[in-house]
């Protein structure tokens, strides 16, 4: 995956344009960064879903605080 290229900026810009909720956008950024970190690494699906649960849970907690 090409980092820091024009095309990634285009994707992020479009997502920001259509995501009106800053909390959801922040989480989108974190999820995509996580996907980039694990790109092409053999990680068990259950482990990834657990990590997603942690990230979504944190976003919900941040919102409640």
């Amino acid at each position: 995956m090409a980092e820091e290229y024009e095309i990634n900026a285009l994707i992020m810009h479009t997502l920001e344009e259509y995501c009106k909720d800053p909390r959801a956008m922040k989480l989108i950024g974190e999820l995509l960064q996580y996907e980039l970190d694990i790109w092409n690494r053999k990680i068990k699906s259950a482990e990834i879903v657990d990590q997603y649960n942690v990230m979504v849970g944190k976003a919900v907690r941040d919102e409640q605080e």
Binding site: I7, T14, L15, L31, E35, W39, R41, N53
Partner: protein, 666 residues
């Protein structure tokens, strides 16, 4: 990460027996490498060696060494020389210069003869040695592929390592699906797809944890699972149909081209006329469908007015009667009158004492205020009714003009159908077996493509219905969860992840559309830079459905009428657009880039391409006809070519073993 190839070492790889090493000097201004060899001498196998080493696959080969009947990767003379129970290997090593240091990528496969003389081969093994901190790290095994994918993903490899023949064919046998696939691949939405896939899994996990909470949730969960599996099936089916439609469209294009290029002039003229008519038919069908839709929308809007014409006219007459009698009071704002009374001062400055006549008048006014507000409604109503009455009056004329337009379109479509039938009859009238065969094939393909389109429309409808059910299930689930405070966090999690899924779903096609526009713009710029006939072409467009058009200076679409050289240039322009948009900086390697191209285009490509790639390493695998025998091409490339990057392939007398040497060192 940027990289260039500094050397390739092949040992017993296909026709290269022993070890052959090619060293490339990487230089931004002298960015061209030439490897010249006759057809069959092993040029393509140098390209194959690169893709096999990096990705474990060969561009020209469908089968790997596991296929017993195909030529093995290990050199056949080497295998032939083995005794029973002896083994050997084939290996390709590639040195890469990256902006993070030097890498060595190697792939090795072993093979030999067993005790009965039967050949055996092992799976190939990938090894990457790359710098991490101050040390070199060695990674082995297929998991190592991720390292290669970081410098150039497998999916993008075909935009950099190019077979010239396939590139020429890319737009000649045009298929919007192929263009869409390429744009899709370069879009790099994989991260978004993966995030979406993992959010789906998390949603399922979260739902599973509450199945048994209430019977309603359990029922809801079952329905959600069922609809999800239905949607997955629909998507898979749609993807299969699109693939089939793509190959049928390509086959139909080939049939059309055969008929258009037929040596009987009458046949080719009829086919040309047929293609123009089919284009017009498609446009008329679309226009007709739009007109019918517009008429239906108008009818839906105006029908209630027509139906209620009498009461509407009666209401309007009543309102007008009241207006004429002056019964509708003037508009007075309640708040303004009340404020005057409360403040006890008129706008003229006089005091409004509680017992004054003026105050009494205002109080009387305020009692009529409810009537005054009604007057607002009545005035709005009057205007609206006037608009409705005007619509009713215009209705006969508008509907007639719409119907006339639709009738004209339909009769033109009927004429076109008749003309197309006549052309088919005329072509069959030649009573030539080959034409009859092509006509039958054409009929079959056209019918199949229409069936594919119908099935896709049905699937699309089913998918939208299923998605609606899924949305309803989610709403129901949210209502049910709200009844149980202990599930509050879970409800919030589900809401958040679904919101993200909605953003992903909404933006996917928008992102692809924007990338398509960039590919279109860069392809156009590249094509108009590379093309020889300056001023002959105006534009290159890639429409929403990924149909590529090349616009002639006089406005005609000439995508079907380009020469081999022009197709090659269009292919190069498109691939260059994709490579630059992908953001990856890797060598461009083209096998037989100049074959079947006239000398003027050869001259133009070899003048422009190296400069055009802006210092990117360009390795050209050429035949002597393309390069050695063409002085102009050699002169052009000499500006970008260091002597150390000029190679020739030599074959032995029996054409079973090849050797690559630097030119002049043979």
């Amino acid at each position: 990460m940027k990289f260039a190839i500094s050397s390739i070492e092949m040992t017993n790889y296909r026709q290269y027996k022993g070890t052959q090493k090619l060293r490339f000097t990487t230089d931004k201004s002298k960015n061209v490498t030439i490897i010249s060899g006759r057809n069959g001498s092993g040029k393509s196998n140098i390209l194959n060696a690169i893709t096999w080493c990096l990705y474990g696959k060969e561009i020209h080969k469908k089968y790997d060494l596991v296929d017993a009947d195909s030529m093995p990767i290990i050199n056949s003379s080497e295998l032939e020389s083995l005794q029973n129970d002896e083994r050997s290997f084939a290996e390709v090593k590639i040195h890469l210069e990256t902006d993070a240091g030097d890498w060595l990528v190697s792939r090795r496969t072993e093979g030999g003869k067993d005790d009965s003389g039967e050949l055996w081969f092992s799976e190939s093994k990938l090894t990457v040695i790359h710098p991490v901190g101050n040390q070199d790290k060695i990674d082995t095994g297929e998991g190592t592929k991720r390292l290669i994918n970081n410098i150039l993903p497998d999916a993008l490899e075909s935009f950099f390592f190019i077979d010239g023949e396939q590139l020429r064919e890319f737009f000649r046998v045009r298929s919007p699906e192929k263009v869409a696939d390429a744009v899709d691949t370069v879009s790099q939405l994989e991260l978004v797809y993966k995030a979406s896939e993992h959010l789906d899994l998390l949603e399922k996990d979260l739902q599973r944890s509450i199945i048994a909470a209430t019977p309603q949730l359990e029922k809801n969960h079952k329905q959600t699972e069922f609809v999800r599996s239905q949607i997955a099936q629909f998507k898979e089916r749609a993807s299969d149909i699109k693939r089939d439609r793509g190959s049928d469209t390509a086959a139909l294009t080939a049939v059309n081209e055969y008929l258009r290029g037929h040596n009987l002039e009458r046949v080719s003229t009829l086919q040309y006329k047929r293609e123009l008519l089919e284009k017009e038919k498609a446009e008329q069908t679309q226009a007709n469908s739009d007109s019918v839709l517009l008429r239906n929308q108008y009818l839906v809007k105006v029908a209630p007015f027509i139906f209620l014409k009498a009461p509407i006219e009666k209401t309007y007459a009543l309102i007008m009667e009241s207006v004429d009698k002056g019964e509708l009071p003037s508009k007075i704002k309640e708040i303004f009158v009340r404020e005057l009374i409360e403040e006890g001062r008129c706008i003229c400055g006089n005091e409004l004492s509680s017992d004054s006549d003026a105050t009494a008048t205002l109080v009387a006014f305020s009692k009529h205020l409810s009537l005054s507000e009604l007057s607002d409604v009545a005035i709005v109503g009057k205007t609206t009714i006037e608009e409705i009455l005007s619509e009713i009056q215009e209705f006969p004329q508008r509907i007639e003009s719409m119907s006339i337009k639709i009738d004209k379109q339909e009769s033109r479509l009927e004429e076109i159908r008749r003309d197309l039938d006549q052309i088919r009859d005329d072509l069959l009238g030649f009573d030539l077996e080959e034409i009859n065969r092509y006509e039958a094939r054409r009929e079959e393909l056209t019918t199949r493509i229409a069936e594919h389109n119908l099935l896709l429309a049905e699937l699309d409808k089913k998918m939208r219905e299923a998605q609606q059910i899924l949305d309803d299930c989610r709403k129901q689930e949210s209502i049910e969860l709200a009844k149980h405070p202990k599930y509050d966090t879970l409800k919030r999690k589900l809401a958040l992840l679904r919101e993200i899924q909605n953003v992903f779903a909404k933006t996917e096609s928008i992102i692809k559309g924007r990338i398509r526009q960039r590919v279109e713009q860069k392809t156009r710029d590249n094509f108009l830079t590379l093309i020889r006939k300056e001023g002959a072409f105006q534009n290159v467009t890639i429409s929403d459905d990924y149909t590529v058009k090349v616009q002639h200076a006089h406005g005609f679409n000439v995508i079907n009428d380009l020469s081999a050289g022009e197709y090659m240039i269009l292919g190069l322009a498109f691939m260059s657009a994709l490579t630059s948009i992908s953001g990856f900086q890797a060598p461009v390697i083209i096998d037989t880039p100049l074959a079947k191209i006239d000398d003027i285009h050869r001259d133009y490509i070899t003048t422009q391409l190296p400069h055009f790639l802006d210092g990117t390493q360009l390795i050209l695998l050429v035949t002597p006809t393309e390069y050695d025998n063409d002085k102009k091409v050699k002169d052009n490339l000499s500006h970008y070519l260091l002597p150390s990057n000029d190679y020739m392939i030599h074959e032995n007398e029996t054409f079973t073993i090849s050797e690559v040497t630097q030119r002049g060192n043979a």
